[in-house]
Structures are given as C-alpha cells and as structure tokens.
C-alpha cells in the first residue's frame, strides 16, 4: 500500500469540512466515539446539523470561534492507499498555513463552489500549490446539486480554470464535479451526472501516480549523522546516516563528497541488520565508503557527473511567516537539508500578489503571509538544486536569531 499526502484549503461555507467528513465517514475512518463527541459538541453549540468541522478543529479556540487556525492532519485508508490530509484554512491571512500544508503534499484539492465559479480564493490556492510544486491538482466543482447538476456550469468553470492554469507550473490537473453534501462523485459514482465520464474523487486519489513525485535522477545524500559505534565488534565501523534526497545510490557506485571534493566508492548500504543493493528517496539508510574520509553532518554525497549548484548567493521565493516583517540587511539563521548557516537578506526583488499572480514592486519590507523573490547571501556555500527540480535540496527556512522562531520559508529559484 502506498502513502498519498494531500492538502485542502478552504474557508467556512465552501464545503471543505463536509467533503473531508464524507471521505472519512465513507471510508469508515470516523469512529463512533468521535462521532458521539462531535454530536455532543454540535448540540452544545446549538448547531442544527452535526458539524463535521469539529472533527478537524482540534483546539479549544478553533471550536469556540468556529474557524480553522492551524493545519490539522487527518488520516484515513482505503484498501488501496493510506492518506494523510493536511487541512488548512483558506483566507489570505492564513497563507502561511496553506504553504505549510502544501510543503509535503503530493496532491491538492482545489474546491470551487459551482454557484460562484472561479474566485480569488481559487487563484490563491492554486498559486500556492503551484509555488510549492504540488505535482497533482484535483479541481472539485462542488455543490453541483444546487445548480441542478448542469453540465454547462461545470464545463464553464473547467474552461475558466484551465485558461488560468496555463500560468501555473503544475504537471497534472484533474477535474471532477461533486456534491460533498449529497455524496455525488466523492466515493460513489453519481447517477445525477451521467455526462461526466471521469472517476470519483476517491478513485482519483487512489490512482494518481505518486512514484514519480520524487526526484530519481540527481543523486543527493545530505549527511545527517555519523555513526561510529564504540564497541569491539564494530570497532572500525564508520557509517554516514541520512535520508536519500534524490537519485539512486547503488553499492559500488563512485561518489563525490561536498564540500571537500573527495572521491570514493560506496562499500555498503546499511539499514539495521540488513545490507541493501540500492537506496532511493525517501529512504533513511547508512552509507559506508571504501575510504576513510573526513565527512560530517551538513556534507553532501553526490555523483561526480551530477553535482548540485554550490553558491553563497541564492535567490528564493520567500513566504514570510512572522509578525515582525523582514527587511533587507537583516541576518538570520538558515537551515537547508542538514546544514545550518547564517545569512543576510540582500534585496527584496519583487512581491507576488497571491490573488492575481501579478508582480508588485511595493514596500521595503515583507510582511506576514506575503510572498516575494528575495536575494540571500550565506556565510558558507550551500549545495542545492532549484526547488522545481528537487523539493528536498531546494528548500530553506529562516530562523530569527533572537527568538529562535521559524520566520520565513523559501523555495530556491
């Protein structure tokens, strides 16, 4: 069974909670005691119907205010796949939460209300999904029951969206007309829309090809931890532990170590008591090399004929996550793969309006939830790829030196 991570974004009334509730309920992932608890809470709050949003809105403040503040993770499984949903709020002031939910997703569900068609919120969710390089977008035209299941309504929305989507860099876009409330095309095929020839939402989620979502071309192994046992039996053991971030490493492969430039050969790939022939993303393994080299955390093992970029000057699309705005000239800690360096913000080149995708040239600072192209200078060279090529080696976070908070997240261009 494979794992698929997907994200949803939405605000009150757009049917997101109903949709998630239905996916969970119809796959028997809501348990009786959870449903009882939600029923009790709904009655106490004076709701007429069972409010399925209470399943995901886990914090007291969220339930009190009836809003989703943070990302909530929900889990369900069908006989074909295990799913992790990152459920995020959809308003513009929660851009940072949407970005967080999108960072690990294989797929994004874009919900469009059939009555309203493509709106500003649709643009925003789609742009964020594209910026975070979510490989698959599933556009759900919801509330089809209210528009009498009319094909014309669906087709018009589909055309509008695909015209806009040509501006995005998403590999795979699917469309499905649904009614989350009535259950049409969510888990069960709808008899109300015989004109629709595609699969149900769940069918799409179960069958999207996720194997190719990892980079299998460019071998990248950020060294995370050096294993040197202090025991007689493993006296000479020296292993480099880490998670493969790209490409395939095989026993016997010739490798190159950054930054030293040393060359060696993979002697063995260990996973516990087992020796593997090869390792690929996202496997956590331990590499042993033929030669005794000076390698430590933050180094990267790659192949001689396929070296990432090595530079102290990087441009990133940065999403700002903190109340205190970013200003050029400020210094931050920067984390990239297993490396920690310091960096200085050299310049904010332009901001992006997440609702229109237009570049805007305003302001000397970057405020919370804003996204901009920013130039950074690091104290040591980073070994990186562009985010479009590799989400693992192309992402960074910025940390405030005073509070230690994560204040910004960036996709390397």
């Amino acid at each position: 069974m494979e794992l698929l991570r997907f994200t949803t974004a939405g605000s009150v009334d757009d049917g997101k909670s109903t949709l998630i509730g239905r996916l969970l309920y119809d796959s028997k992932s809501i348990f009786e005691d959870q449903l009882e608890a939600v029923k009790r809470a709904s009655i106490r709050k004076g709701n007429e119907q069972i409010n399925l949003a209470l399943l995901t809105d886990g914090l007291r403040a969220e339930r009190e205010q009836g809003i989703t503040i943070d990302v909530a993770y929900r889990y369900f499984a069908t006989p074909k796949r295990k799913f992790i949903i990152a459920d995020t709020p959809g308003h513009v002031q929660y851009t940072r939460n949407m970005v967080t939910g999108a960072s690990t997703a294989n797929a994004a569900i874009i919900l469009i209300d059939a009555r309203n068609g493509v709106t500003e919120q649709t643009y925003r969710h789609s742009y964020i999904s594209s910026l975070l390089q979510i490989p698959h977008l599933i556009v759900c035209v919801n509330k089809m029951d209210i528009v009498n299941y009319e094909e014309k309504v669906y087709e018009e929305i589909r055309e509008n969206f695909s015209a806009f989507a040509s501006k995005l860099s998403v590999k795979d876009i699917r469309y499905v007309p649904i009614s989350a409330l009535k259950g049409d095309n969510v888990v069960v095929y709808s008899e109300n829309m015989p004109w629709y020839g595609g699969g149900t939402l769940r069918y799409i989620l179960e069958n999207i090809h996720v194997g190719s979502d990892w980079n299998h071309l460019d071998p990248r192994f950020p060294v995370q931890y050096v294993i040197r046992p202090i025991s007689d039996k493993y006296h000479d053991y020296r292993g480099y532990a880490g998670r493969v971030a790209g490409g395939v490493f095989r026993k016997g492969d010739k490798i190159l170590v950054l930054p030293s430039g040393f060359i060696s050969t993979i002697e063995a790939i260990d996973l516990f008591e087992q020796e593997l022939e090869e390792a690929y993303p996202p496997m956590s393994v331990t590499l042993r090399l033929k030669d005794d080299l000076d390698i430590s955390r933050g180094d990267m093992i790659v192949k001689e004929n396929n070296i990432p970029k090595v530079d102290q000057d990087i441009d990133v699309m940065l999403c700002w996550m903190n109340n205190k705005p970013l200003t050029p000239g400020t210094k931050y800690y920067l984390k990239h793969t297993t490396t920690d360096v310091r960096c200085m913000v050299k310049e904010i080149k332009y901001k992006v309006d997440v609702n229109t995708l237009n570049q805007v040239d305003d302001g000397a600072d970057l405020k919370m939830n804003e996204i901009a192209r920013v130039a950074l200078r690091t104290t040591k060279p980073l070994f990186f790829d562009s985010y479009n090529q590799n989400r693992q080696t192309g992402s960074i976070i910025l940390i405030d030196e005073g509070t230690n908070n994560t204040v910004g997240v960036g996709m390397i261009i």
């Binding site: 794992l3 348990f31 009786e32 943070d70 990302v71 993770y73 294993i227 976070i397 994560t406």
Partner: protein
Amino acid sequence: MKYNLNHLRELESESIFVMREVAAQFENPALLFSGGKDSIVMVHLARKAFWPSQLPFPLFHIDTGHNFEETITFRDTLVKKLNARLIIGSVQEAIDKGRVVEEKGYAASRNLLQTVTLLDAIEKYKIDAALGGGRRDEEKARAKERFFSHRDEFGQWDPKNQRPELWNIFNGRKNQGEHFRVFPLSNWTEMDIWQYIYLENIELPSLYFTHERDVFIRDGVWYADAPFMMKKDSEEVIRKMVRCRTIGDISCTGLTLSSADNLEDIISEIAATRVTERGSRTDDLRSESAMEDRKKEGYF
C-alpha cells in the same frame, strides 16, 4: 513502480530521519518509554536509526506506581537486552515529597500527577528533547502537534503559537531552560503501528494478548482490579478473558473483552472496531479539551 516504498517503509524512514535529527541537534535527549506499544515501536525505530551503535539516549519512564506488573517486567528485560540506560521519574516520590497531592474518590487517577513528575525529571536530568510516541490520529489536540514541539521554560505548550514546520526541515533551536518534545510517530495511525509490529515481528508485553484477569465494570468500561483501585459496593469483581488495546497505568486503562491471542487476530479486531483506542481511556474523557488542557501544562 520499482522505486516506490510502501506506506509502512515510508513512515519508518520518516521516523528514523526525525530521531537522527534529534541526536544531531540536541545535547541531552531521552526517549519517553511507558511500556506501551507505541514506545516499544519507538525503541525499535531508534535501534534501526543508530545501528550498530547503541541508542544515543536513555529510556525515560514516568512511573505512576500503579503499573501492570507485566509492563515493568517487560521494560526491565528490554533495557537489559539493549544495554540501554534507564532513568525514572517517580510519581510516588513526588507524592511523598509533597510536590503533588493524590486525587481522592473512586475515579482517582495519578494521570494528571505525571505532568509535574515529568517536568521535574526533565529539569533534574537536564533533558533538552524528550522523544514521545504520541500520534496525531490519537486525539484532536494531538492532531495539531508538530514533530518538533517547543516547550517554554515552564514546560508549557502554546498551541496557538507554534513554529511553522515545513518539508523535513526541523528547527530545534531554543533558549536556556526551554526544551522540545519530539514526536517521530506523528503520521502513524493505530493500524500502522500494529501492521508494523507484525511486519517487523516486534515483541510486546503479554498484556496486549488475551489473558484471564480479575476485572470489574464501571460506566461501561472494564478495569483491572488492583489493591489501590477503590470499588463501589455495586462493582463486583469477576474473572474475564481480556486484553489491553492501549496501556496506561491500571487506573485509567480500559480493557477489551477479547479472545485475540496473536497479532493477526488483533489486527482483524482493530480493523473491525468502531471505537477509537483512546475511547476507553478515562483520562481523555474528563472534558472535551482534556488532552489540550493537559498538554498545555506540559503533559506527554
């Protein structure tokens, strides 16, 4: 299709990555060990993460004194087998010293008292990262947890002000006196845990399999009888075939009537069940936000 991991291997790899980050980013981590299945899986993953080295952190048990005997026997055998270090925070000791006051009445439990003991022990042993086996699918407040969850100098969790956590970049920076709780099993479900135990053939305490025991029923939940369990006159002790679906201490662990004596049967039992595993945990049923409230104070 060749380069695809199945879901258990992907979760395993994620957890191993998180554990290695902890070993790399912190000076004095410890692995919270209760003797329950999740912490046993945690130990297994830690062995995988650092093999052939020994665990780079001690096991850390918060002992309420109201344990099932089987849990303690299992713990001590495991510690010996792994040649691991064990540190213990004792709730009984905290009661004796007057740090906490025992609850009274029939529903008395030492569950809440664990928080003070846990925070005291974290301070005493200067632990800067406590690895816990909490999972997001367990409970709605847990669903909001980060992998790396920051605690202030009072050990408190501020759920409305958590650090953003993206990709697999984990920020463990902190100021003096603060610490982290780290949850490598965040993305596992109860079913994943059982399937993984089966896949890896991980040894468990006998409590998880059916056995005969003195039990009594209260508010529809079966409890084990023990000398410190106060019973009402109407609560009659009888012998039943039961097993634990989750193990806490005796006072808050509901038992399942079951004949499952092997992992296959347990997995089919869980696949068919319509109640969550914490559905019979008295500690969670106290109020709608019982878990959130406890976690803010510094609970597991």
